[in-house]
């Protein structure tokens, strides 16, 4: 009758192989999804961009901010594979270094907005008392066009990498909050959450164990979209001249400076533009694949 009870939860790992856990199943799905087609191409492109950014100092042929008036607006040459801009700076090196700015801004905005949005969203979803206050505030933030808000914030504080990131992150937060709140509201009425309440579980445990894990899949997907839109916003701000100062090369401000010479030297706009477009496309494709894989409705198929 009384079989010796397993006293340690870890002892159960032996069963893992026979009956895969949910996590492993998802991982298997992801590997399958990323192993083929557009997702693989997107992954490779993104990897290349990351490598470009990481090894920019090694790959660059010149100092990206060194001005060389003698060589201004030169075409492609051995020293300058993609030519130079109006100040004689090397376009190739500037595009390489621009990848750094884009990835930092994108990743930073995605991580910070998801983290802040998660906390605020959980509060709004679980505590009805603060819900309407939080959500009306979020509505207020969302009512202002994000580019305008970013320009206003930057003009108040002055442009630096930090302020640009803050200015891009703030308008993204309400979207994350709404997403998290809706997930939490849905899960609240699940029987297993009510069961936890009747088992006397403290609020912290109910939130962390039973509710927050449900938000992770949609947040990862939302994160990729924030990532893409942050890169785009940064480029837009720089293009408008409200973004990073020109001594920090970014794809946006390279294009901004190059646009007056576009008819003579289209490469000034084209090269950073291609880099930007490919990166955005890849991130969005990855986001779509992630959504399809992590969405429980899709997962049911197998």
């Amino acid at each position: 009758m009384k079989i010796s009870a397993p006293s340690d939860a870890a002892g159960g790992c032996a069963h893992e192989d026979a009956q895969p856990s949910r996590r492993r199943l998802i991982l298997r799905h992801l590997l399958r999804a990323f192993g083929t087609g557009p997702a693989l191409v997107a992954l490779v492109i993104l990897l290349l961009v990351v490598l470009m950014a990481l090894f920019a100092p090694l790959l660059a042929t010149a100092d990206p901010i060194a001005i060389a008036p003698a060589e201004r607006l030169s075409g492609s040459s051995a020293n300058h594979p993609l030519g130079t801009d109006a100040y004689g700076r090397d376009i190739y090196s500037r595009v390489l270094y621009g990848a750094r700015v884009s990835l930092i801004v994108g990743a930073g905005a995605a991580l910070v907005s998801v983290a802040i949005g998660l906390v605020i969203g959980v509060l709004a979803g679980y505590f009805p008392a603060v819900d309407s206050v939080i959500m009306r505030t979020m509505d207020g933030v969302m009512a202002i066009p994000s580019i305008l808000l970013a320009i206003a914030l930057i003009s108040l504080t002055g442009a630096s990498l930090m302020t640009v990131m803050v200015a891009i992150t703030i308008p993204e937060i309400p979207r994350v909050v709404r997403l998290v709140r809706s997930v939490i509201l849905n899960v609240r009425s699940e029987a297993y959450v009510e069961a936890a309440v009747t088992l006397g579980s403290p609020v912290r445990r109910i939130l962390m164990r039973h509710m927050v894990p449900n938000t992770i899949a949609p947040l990862i997907v939302q994160g990729t979209f924030v990532f893409a839109s942050a890169i785009l916003t940064e480029a837009t701000l720089s293009f408008l001249g409200a973004g990073l100062p020109t001594e920090i090369p970014s794809w946006g401000n390279i294009m901004s400076e190059g646009r007056s010479y576009f008819q003579l030297f289209p490469g000034l706009v084209l090269w950073p533009g291609i880099a930007l477009a490919l990166t955005l496309l890849s991130v969005n494709v990855l986001g779509d694949v992630l959504r399809d894989t992590l969405d429980p409705k899709m997962a049911k198929r197998t």
Partner: protein, 551 residues
């Protein structure tokens, strides 16, 4: 499949050796060489537990299989002389509603929520007849009258959400039968309805059938319904036909073991005589009220009085049933008692201590004495958490060490008849019945004095239902826990409860020992409920009709 003596008239539909398989993967077929036929005016019931392939069979006839998942692999379905499996999609579309039609389980989802029901009925005429607008309208109004809907003009102009569940199902039947098809397929059409409504809908289907001489294929899991309406019965299990026979022969002398098991698992409506319990009360509820208020902008707040003045006492080892139809407030009583809702008024006494007088910390300690088992075993366990972790959540909340709690969890697993290795697995690796056992075990982890079971067996198949009921019966004997058993099913209540409270519109209308309330109901409402219970003239356990039933 061997057919019993074929009906003498020409059958409307003949299903022969129908097999349906999954499109992906070559597992065993979902439906395996199924055959039966239905004559005009005849009702054939297909019974079976979930996963037996009864709905897939019906959908194959209608040509409504999801082609990306399921596909017929063999056999034929003859409607008249036409093989439906080989008919072109256009032809099938024409045949549906002119020669065969279907009534679904959930009338709300079967109707378009944003279109008036009159237009939805007319659509059938618009597509399949040459009637003009005025004629269509007239025909629709006449049909609404035929299905006994009051004030057809008003119903014609109503949206589905403005009608009750029973009225919606009448509208769906209207749509199905307005072109007088030869075959009506009804897929669990009364499962989502209350018993009294169910009885009305069954009567209506019977009446329409007699009027139009329709062949009816009725899919159900409820043996009571079978006893009431069937002419012949097809019993299915795991995609195969186990037995086909006349109703009388199936119910009196089933030849197959599975059929015997299925029929004898149906609890009797007549409660067994039970010794009155003389134990101390563990839960007393006095004058419980619950009013839901909804604030509305610039208007007075709306109020719903869900529970009014409910008092009850639950003793140690007692199983107290609360029965009533949907909206009677029985679940709200349960939720107030376990603390998921705050009562508007009234007192709850647990083991002699008043809950409302206790402070927050003491309250939490008292709450652990009341645990709950929920209706849907697929939703009451967190799919991401291993069974073991779910089991020990309660005790660790109250400071029990993980190892000790795990040991206890292993013992309780044995008590509910599951191996201790179950603790290392995830909920999706268990069947519905096993999950409900796990939920019972989890509730027992905190050694409660009161177990509240809210429709705890309603989502389960009859044979599994019987096992869980037996488990609850054992547990109260072994642990002495008092069980508050909420159910809409009088059979289940009769099977397990010592005493019964009948609720209607938030009030208790009758209460007393089970054999008293169920065998000799005093209140008109209880009598009505009892009379509406399907198959009440049949004693399924002993395979014979109940004689001299005075109820």
């Amino acid at each position: 499949m061997t057919e019993p003596a074929a009906p003498h008239r020409n059958p409307v539909i003949r299903v022969r050796d129908l097999s349906v398989g999954l499109v992906h993967g070559s597992h065993r077929p979902v439906v395996d060489r199924v055959g039966f036929e239905i004559a005009p005016g005849e009702t054939v019931c297909v019974v079976g537990e979930s996963g037996s392939g009864k709905s897939v069979t019906a959908f194959s006839i209608m040509g409504l299989l999801q082609t990306n998942a399921l596909r017929p692999t063999g056999g034929e379905i003859l409607l008249g002389d036409e093989d439906l499996l080989r008919a072109a999609p256009e032809r099938l579309r024409h045949l549906r509603s002119t020669r065969m039609s279907m009534v679904f389980q959930e009338p709300m989802t079967a109707l378009n929520p944003v279109e008036k029901v009159g237009r939805q009925i007319e659509e059938v005429l618009l597509l399949h007849s040459r009637m003009g607008p005025a004629e269509r309208r007239q025909r629709t109004l006449a049909m609404l009258e035929t299905v006994h809907l009051p004030d057809p003009e008003r119903i014609y102009e109503s949206f589905p959400h403005q009608l009750s569940g029973g009225q919606r199902q009448r509208v769906v039947i209207c749509i199905a039968l307005i072109l007088e098809p030869d075959l009506l397929i009804a897929d669990e059409p009364t499962t989502a309805l209350d018993v009294t409504t169910q009885q009305q809908i069954l009567t209506l289907i019977r009446e329409m059938q007699e009027r139009q001489n329709t062949a009816v294929l009725f899919i159900t899991h409820d043996m009571g319904v079978v006893a009431d309406i069937a002419d012949r019965v097809v019993v299915m299990k795991d995609g195969r036909v186990v037995e086909v026979s006349d109703k009388e022969r199936i119910l009196r002398a089933p030849t197959h073991d599975y059929t015997r098991m299925l029929i004898s698992s149906v609890p009797s409506l007549v409660p067994e005589l039970r010794e009155p319990l003389r134990t101390e009360p563990v839960l007393t509820v006095e004058g419980l009220h619950k009013t839901f208020r909804k604030k509305r902008f610039l208007r007075p707040a709306s109020e719903v009085r869900a529970v009014q003045d409910v008092s009850l006492t639950l003793q140690r080892k007692e199983i107290l049933g609360v029965v009533g139809q949907s909206g009677s407030g029985k679940s709200t009583v349960a939720r107030c008692i376990v603390g998921l809702e705050e009562p508007s008024a009234g007192e709850i006494v647990i083991c002699g201590e008043r809950l409302d007088r206790a402070g927050t910390a003491a309250r939490r300690q008292m709450r652990r004495r009341i645990q709950m088992v929920f209706q849907d075993p697929y939703r009451s366990l967190n799919p991401r958490v291993r069974i073991g972790r779910s089991m020990i959540e309660g005790p660790t909340n109250f400071g029990v060490a993980t190892e000790a709690a795990m040991e206890r969890a292993g013992e309780l697993m044995a008590l509910v008849g599951l191996p201790t290795s179950a603790l290392d697995r995830y909920p999706h690796q268990f069947s519905g019945g096993q999950r409900q056992r796990i939920c019972v075990a989890r509730a027992l982890m905190l050694e409660p004095a009161v177990l509240v079971a809210d429709e705890a067996v309603s989502a389960l198949d009859v044979s599994v239902q019987e096992q869980v009921l037996e488990l609850l019966d054992e547990i109260r004997e072994e642990t002495g826990v008092g069980i508050l058993f909420i159910t809409h099913d009088l059979r289940v209540a009769a099977r397990i409860c010592d005493s019964i409270f009948v609720m209607n519109h938030g009030r208790v209308v009758e209460h007393g020992p089970a054999e008293h309330v169920l065998a000799r109901p005093e209140q008109a409402y209880t009598q009505k409920l009892f009379e509406a219970a399907p198959g009440r003239h049949w004693d399924f356990r002993n395979f014979r009709p109940i004689e001299g039933n005075s109820a």
